[in-house]
Amino acid sequence: MAVNPNDKHKMTVVEGSYATAHAAKVSRPHVISAYPITPQTHIVEDLSQFMADGEIPGCEYINVESEFSAISALIGAAATGARTYSATTSQGLFLMHEALLNASGMRLPIVMTVVNRAAGAPINIWNDQQDSIAQRDTGWIQLYAEDTQEAADMVLQAFKIAEDKNVLLPIMVCMDGFVLSHVYEPVVLLDRKEADEYLPPFKPDVYLDPKNPLSFGTLGDPSVYTEFRYKQEQAMRNALPLIEKAADDFKKVTGRYYGGLVEGYELDDADVVIVSFGSILGTIKDVIDEYRASGEKIGVLKVRAFRPFPTEAIANALKNAKAVVVIEKDISIGRNEGALFTEIKAGLYNTPMRTPMVGYMVGHGGRDIRPMHIKKIIEATKKVAETGKIEIESQFNDVKEELL
């Protein structure tokens, strides 16, 4: 259930970037800091226009000279007690890398939209998910949106999760570049009243203040360092139920729901289960509808939260499957598989479950994934389900032999 049928009259056709910028606006951020980079640019342009039109009262927008300074300025602002937002992609996200670890280590609940884009070289502005996946160990919560409505609504959910006192971790809201950021679709733009009802003001217990001088970002030697990491991991554990609660609470206010940590589609009786994240789920669901129409039990598990990794929820969702196939737009080079595939297998290894699993790396650098590709993958996985045998565990989809 995406949009409540009763809300259809509220729908308006806007670009995905606009919907996200609007969501950031109604979240009432104190400080926005961003640097333009394709395909994130429309989000920062829309936010700049909102600022120029006085639509984000009291907000300070810092037009920084790099992504590195964008995230650094938000570190300072969040430590001062401000609600902070940014957006970036690919090369910009990589430039932020050092500061990403720092923001999480200092437990600053920054929310940032990552408009997923491929990594150079070769330079490529089109969509895959290599950029955010490459940041998976920075201590940021990572949520992946399926469509533009979810990408926008996820911004508010992210603030709610990040600012919870049992979490206090930064969050990346990941949306596929161009496929979501530049597409015009009907969405419901959250009004301020609903946003305020859902998202209370940010009131941190500690912040930089001359009246109560505290030190942030001190030196942690070996005698104390481990405990900082331990508490970060505990915060990630704490986030698991809160990601679900944030989705449930959002549904109460808006009627819209996209799943908590994971969400199944035609899943319960499915023999072959596809696992994936991001906008490709739309294509996959269309293909599944065709299979279901002819009586074939194919289903899909959408992964919304990649960090914290919802091992239990995934194990539970896959328990009846005869074969599982993970389709994703990233690769851990040198492992010959995508990160989601690796992590699902790792999470299930010490369980009784012995369902055969295969992985496909697809859509690198924005190459189209069409229903025919998904069908081919499903047909191959059906054989795995029938025989219980895996011929190729992980493979690239659609490699052009003539270019090799």
């Binding site: 104190h30 400080v31 800091s33 009291g58 907000c59 300070e60 810092i62 037009n63 920084v64 000279e65 790099s66 590195f68 300074s69 964008a70 650094s72 300025a73 938000l74 570190i75 300072g76 602002a77 969040a78 430590a79 001062t80 007690g81 401000a82 902070t84 050092e98 500061a99 720092n102 200092m106 930089l208 203040d209 001359p210 109560n212 001088p213 505290l214 030190s215 942030f216 970002g217 001190t218 030196l219 942690g220 030697d221 104390v224």
Partner: protein
């Protein structure tokens, strides 16, 4: 709050070396500005020696993020104070070393100054990466021997002059830029106060001799600092809105040898063949300062 509170904003008991220049400089800054400030301290000796968790020597709100982002973090704090309506008279102050200011952090600092955030930035320049073992920076002067620009049989040491960082900050349109020395505490405190009172991005570049890195006895920090000013290798001036408005005169400039001889980082110049000619180049650098700022007039 006791009457001598301004003197306790950076408390004793931290891990600084005897004769440490950073602790003196930071103390002068806080004496000038007082408790109503937020300090941003990029990675370096000052950060490491004052905040071994769970201890902190700072009695003002303080943040360390990374080595190269002091300017951006300060900008973010200033923006947050504005947005939260908590600005009042609170001054945001960056305090960084020559490495974090002149080298790795110059991009973020340039951005903050170009946007003219209401911040004061103080560079404590001890002319090399002291925290990691005396490697050269763009603040290292000509012929100083450091661990990455060592003197050797075919090298007189660091082969470049100091980067003119104050001039770069003036070029950003900063309303107030001044040079100071920890050898002249009253002058420094007066200028920091003035810089903090100006609205906009203001810059103080303070010369700060490091006994460990420069090779002199820890009792001589102030003496060496004064010598640098007195031989005109470190001119003290103020630049307001691009115009030089004040210069500290040096009536009888001392020869640079006097300054160089007092530090082991220059000792090779007095032993190597041709060293005297190279010292002459350093003297020419001082003479240029004398002419440029009219130091002896």
């Amino acid at each position: 709050m006791s009457d001598n509170q301004p003197f306790n904003l950076l408390t004793p008991g931290h891990n600084g070396c005897a004769g440490c220049c950073d602790s003196l400089a930071a103390k002068y800054v806080l004496m000038a500005v007082g408790p109503d400030c937020i300090v941003v301290n990029p990675t370096g000796c000052l950060e490491v020696m004052t905040t071994p968790f769970p201890r902190s020597a700072w009695n003002v709100p303080w943040i360390h993020s990374l080595f190269e982002n002091g300017g951006a973090v300060a900008a973010g704090i200033e923006a947050a104070l504005k947005s939260l309506g908590r600005r009042g008279n609170t001054k945001v102050i960056g305090i960084g070393g020559d490495g974090s200011t002149m080298d790795i952090g110059i991009g973020a600092l340039s951005g903050a100054f170009e946007r003219n955030h209401d911040i004061l930035y103080v560079c404590i320049d001890n002319e090399a990466y002291m925290n990691t073992g005396v490697q050269r920076s763009s603040g290292t002067p000509l012929y100083a021997s450091t661990s990455t620009s060592p003197a050797g049989s075919v090298s007189y040491g660091n082969n470049t002059n100091k980067k003119d960082m104050p001039a770069i900050m003036v070029a950003h349109g900063s309303p107030y830029v001044a040079t100071t020395s920890i050898g002249y505490a009253n002058d420094m405190i007066k200028k920091v106060k003035k810089a903090a009172d100006v609205v906009g991005s203001t810059y103080i570049h303070t010369h700060a001799p490091c006994p460990t890195g420069w090779g002199f006895d820890s009792s001589k920090t102030i003496e060496i600092a004064k010598l640098a000013v007195d031989c005109c290798l470190w001119p003290l001036y103020e630049i307001e809105n691009g115009e030089v408005t004040a210069v500290r005169k040096v009536k009888n400039p001392k020869p640079v040898e006097e300054y160089l001889k007092a530090q082991s980082r220059f000792k090779h110049l007095f032993k190597m063949e041709g060293g005297d000619k190279e010292i002459e180049k350093i003297q020419q650098y001082a003479d240029k300062n004398i002419a440029k700022y009219g130091l002896d007039k």
